[in-house]
Structure formats: structure tokens, C-alpha cells
């Protein structure tokens, strides 16, 4: 299985660390909505087909990647930085000071 890192190009899966399901919504840190926390920690869509997941290129540039991968064929249809266009901060982070 090869994952095409946007920085480094196609690399063997052994360079990457699986970070799991990318569909999960983490509640705000102060949230006391226990159902939302439970769902975030324990519930998975686990589809047979295209799966939105997070990988880290831990043996390379260390970027976190959002990968669309088919769980029936292991075919990868898209790879992007988790931070979207890579200019805006990750969700929940403060805007960079100019």
C-alpha cells in the first residue's frame, strides 16, 4: 500500500502511522455533553467502502494527512493535509498573530 504524501510523494505504508477514523467530531474541551463525548470516544461508522481517515507521515515529514481509502480494496482516492489549505489553523486553535 502506497500513500502519496503531498510533500514527499508516494511512500510505503510503513512510513505512516494510522491515526484512525477521520469522521469523529471532538466536542469542545469544556463541553459537558456526555453523549457527544461518548460518541467521539467509542462510536465508529466503520464503512465497507470509502473511509475518511487520518494518517501521520511519522517516518517522513510528520504531516497529518486526511486520506480517503477504500476499506474493501485498500485503494486510496485522495490525500490532503488535515489543515485543509494548510494556511488556516486547525479547528479549535487560535488564529495566528500577524
Amino acid at each position: 500500500m502506497l500513500i502519496t504524501c503531498p510533500y514527499c510523494g508516494p511512500r510505503d505504508v510503513i512510513e505512516f502511522t494510522y491515526q484512525g477514523d477521520g469522521n469523529r467530531e471532538r466536542p469542545e474541551p469544556a463541553s459537558q455533553n456526555f453523549e457527544a463525548w461518548n460518541a467521539y470516544v467509542y462510536d465508529r461508522l466503520n464503512p465497507a467502502g470509502d473511509h475518511n481517515e487520518i494518517w501521520q507521515h511519522s517516518g517522513g515529514c510528520r504531516a497529518h494527512l486526511r486520506v480517503m481509502r477504500n476499506t474493501l480494496t485498500h485503494e486510496i482516492s485522495s490525500v490532503a493535509f488535515v489543515r485543509g489549505d494548510h494556511a488556516s489553523p486547525a479547528r479549535g486553535r487560535a488564529e495566528d498573530k500577524p
Binding site: M1, D12, V13, I14, Y18, G20, D21, E35, N38, A39, V41, Y42, D43, R44, L45, N46, P47, A48, H51, E53, R69, T71, L72, T73, H74
Partner: protein, 419 residues
């Protein structure tokens, strides 16, 4: 007279083996049943068998998408053990062990259950202490366990490198003598025949495509061979739980599907007569009666329904094997294959009523489902027949995650690829 006996073997041999009955019929599905079991693997077939035998419920259909035993019951590495730490797991798997001990006799079918022992190797003093703790927890609940010193281990497994020059020297081990292996295909066939002879319809090549509903209540299934109604619909499809529950409109489960690979070498002369596990990684090995070394390691570690894995795990498993047994370096690997595992969020299974009315659920076996086969069927049959769990499976609910009652034997947290 039992269907299979020395006498029947002789009589059939004299008649040219023409009169053997097929081990199970090939019936067409009826329009309705008391109970439908989705999944003709070990657990589904065992459930059907115990429903008929223990509870007298024989108007039962087992629906199998492919051929009988084509899934994980024929893909595992056949180890049977009950060496767990937490009481809920220990009690359940020990019940399974007791059923295993009488299974060939009970089924009148030789499942080749061989109590050759299972030895967990410790490579650090801290790990040895941890094994002592687990061994004590097991003995506290009446399960056999004994600690072994390196010299004793060397006598048991001469091929093992226990020298201080080994990459990970062996400092001791935890042995469960009653553990062992069984022939996995025979387990499926034995339960299938036992259920069939009691009137259960085993319907192969019958894929469930949806659920019939009356409001919330599940009243049957649509299949590739027509609609079938039932008072109770039981799901025992570990590996495909996500797919089948999606058909029922259950969007999320506390499960991820992962692929686990297994391997077998060419046949060797007797090399190892126990099940041995490596403590500095994840590796387990035994030798089949044909002589092949049967072994495996970790799951590949990403969601997959593909029943095949990738090379990094192959490489890792071989490395671990050679760290323990340098002498196997020139042995050729004969076959490798993959199976899909329901990795649950705490490493323990789910055997419960629900989650919809009229539905019963058996899933989340991670990669420990084979050893559980008899107890899983026994407890699931109890749950279906009585509409309440037995004490053995009462802790294994679906809602335990949201209620904070997880049963996490390895203490890994909600990280399914680490269980």
C-alpha cells in the same frame, strides 16, 4: 448408536463408503422460522446447536452468505486458552474451555482438541511479575496457571533460544496446561451436523440484503433467496458486523474492522508441542498435526474488510519468529491469508439482546473468537431463548461503553487497533 463410531466406520468401509449421509442437508429456506441466525461461522452454528440442544428450539435457520465456515472459523490460528486477567473474561473463557474439553464427545465429531498447553514468554522481570499477577488472578477463579523458569522452558521447547545472547532473553513464562489447539474446520462441521440432525436448516449461499421491519421491530430478513420472517433475528457475523448493522439502520458501533494475517510453513518433523507466545512483540505459534508451523502476530492496524493484508506485518511477524527461533530461518512459508476482525473498543466481545427489538447481537470478538466458539454459542442461545443474558455474558453488553463499564483486559483504552 452414534452416527460416527468405530463400528460405523468399519461397516461403511466394507460397503465401499457409499452410504454416508451428508453432514448437513441443503434445504431451501422456509417462509418463516422461530429464530434466524445470520452468519454460518463457528459462533452462528454453535448458537443453532445449543438453541436446539439446550432449549429445544429447532425451528431455526442459519443463513450463510458464502459456504459454511468460509470466514474466520477457517482462518484463525486455532489456539484455545482461558488465560485472562479480568473476572468477566476469565469466567466466560473458562466456561468455553470446559465445553471444549467435552466437545468431541458431545458432538460425536472429532474436533481434534489437543490440550498441549499455552506458554506466554516473559522477557523482563517486570513482565514476569505481570504474568505472576495474571496467573494468580486465574488461579483465584479456579483456572490452572503456573509460572515457569527458563531451564524448565528450555526442556519444554528445546528449539527456543533462551540464552543471554538472544535479542530478548527469556526470563520466565506463564503456562496454562489445559490450553491448546483444535481443528477449526471440524468445529464448524461438527456444530453444523449437530444442529442439522436436530432439525436446524443451514442455508448456504444466502446473503442477507436487508431487514424486514414492523416499526422499530425486526421481523425478518430479505435475502438473495427471498424474504424470510422470524420471531427473533440473531446476528453473529463478526468481521462483517458493521456492514450487516448498516442494513438494519444502525449507523455506528463501538467496533472497527481490521485485517489479521496468519501464516503456515511447510511441514516439519515434530518441532514444538505447545502454543508459545512472544512477550516483546506480538507473535504466537503452534505446530499442526500435519507438521506445519501455524503462526501470526498483530493486525495490520488500519480499517479493512479486504481479507488480505500488506507486507510490513509479514516482515514484522517473520522477524519476531526468528528472534525466538533463529533455527527457523531457512524454513519456507507455505501460505498466508487474512481475516477480518471486529476490533471492539475494549478488546472484549458483545453478546446481548438488541440493539433493536426482535434482534440479538453477537460481535466484537477482536482476534480471540475461535477459542470462544462453544461458550459464545452457548451464551447467545441462552440469551435468545430466555430474552435475558446468562451470568457469563451479562457483562458483555453493547451499552457498556457509554455507561463506563468497559472490560479492558489489556488496559489499552478505546483504541481498537491496540487490543
Amino acid at each position: 448408536m452414534a452416527e460416527y463410531s468405530a463400528l460405523s466406520l468399519l461397516a461403511n468401509a466394507l460397503k465401499g463408503n457409499k452410504d454416508w449421509k451428508p453432514a448437513w442437508r441443503k434445504p431451501d429456506p422456509k417462509a418463516s422460522y422461530d429464530v434466524i441466525i445470520i452468519g454460518g461461522g463457528g459462533h452462528g452454528l454453535a448458537t443453532a446447536y445449543y438453541l436446539a440442544k439446550e432449549h429445544g428450539i429447532t425451528n431455526v435457520a442459519v443463513l450463510e452468505k458464502g459456504w459454511l465456515g468460509s470466514g474466520n472459523v477457517g482462518r484463525n490460528t486455532t489456539a484455545v486458552r482461558s488465560n485472562y486477567l479480568l473476572p468477566a473474561n476469565t469466567r466466560f473463557y473458562e466456561h468455553s474451555m470446559k465445553l471444549w474439553e467435552n466437545l468431541s464427545h458431545e458432538l460425536n465429531y472429532n474436533v481434534m482438541f489437543s490440550q498441549r498447553g499455552c506458554l506466554n514468554l516473559a522477557h523482563t522481570p517486570a513482565q514476569f511479575d505481570d504474568y505472576a499477577r495474571r496467573g494468580n488472578a486465574m488461579r483465584h477463579l479456579g483456572v490452572d496457571a503456573e509460572l515457569m523458569a527458563p531451564a524448565e522452558i528450555k526442556r519444554l521447547i528445546p528449539a527456543l533460544d533462551i540464552s543471554n545472547d538472544a535479542r530478548f532473553p527469556v526470563v520466565g513464562g506463564l503456562m496454562q496446561r489445559r490450553a491448546g489447539t483444535a481443528r477449526h474446520d471440524a468445529v464448524a462441521w461438527g456444530f453444523a451436523r449437530g444442529a442439522d440432525r436436530r432439525g436446524v436448516d443451514i442455508i448456504e449461499n444466502c446473503e442477507v440484503t436487508g431487514f424486514l421491519r414492523d416499526g422499530d421491530r425486526v421481523t425478518g430478513v430479505t435475502t438473495s433467496r427471498g424474504d424470510i420472517r422470524a420471531k427473533k433475528v440473531a446476528v453473529a457475523v463478526a468481521g462483517s458486523t458493521g456492514r450487516v448493522m448498516q442494513l438494519a439502520g444502525v449507523e455506528t458501533m463501538p467496533i472497527e474492522s481490521h485485517v489479521l494475517q496468519a501464516f503456515v510453513t511447510e511441514s516439519l518433523k515434530p518441532f514444538i508441542d505447545t502454543v508459545v507466545t512472544f512477550g516483546m512483540g506480538h507473535f504466537y505459534m503452534s505446530q499442526s498435526d500435519k507438521g506445519g508451523l501455524v503462526y501470526g502476530g498483530d493486525i495490520d492496524g488500519y480499517n479493512s474488510y479486504a481479507q488480505r493484508g500488506n507486507l510490513p506485518i509479514v516482515d514484522e511477524v517473520m522477524s519476531e519468529m526468528l528472534a525466538l527461533f533463529p533455527g527457523l530461518a531457512r524454513v519456507r512459508m507455505l501460505r498466508s491469508w487474512g481475516g477480518v476482525c471486529d476490533m471492539s473498543m475494549d478488546g472484549s466481545p458483545i453478546i446481548t439482546m438488541g440493539p433493536l427489538p426482535g434482534m440479538y447481537l453477537n460481535c466484537g470478538w477482536c482476534y480471540g473468537g475461535f477459542k470462544a466458539t462453544p461458550a459464545s454459542g452457548w451464551c447467545f442461545a441462552w440469551t435468545i431463548a430466555k430474552d435475558q443474558p446468562h451470568d457469563f455474558n451479562a457483562p458483555f453488553t453493547l451499552d457498556r461503553f457509554h455507561r463506563g463499564l468497559v472490560i479492558d483486559d489489556k488496559g489499552q483504552g478505546a483504541n481498537p487497533r491496540l487490543h
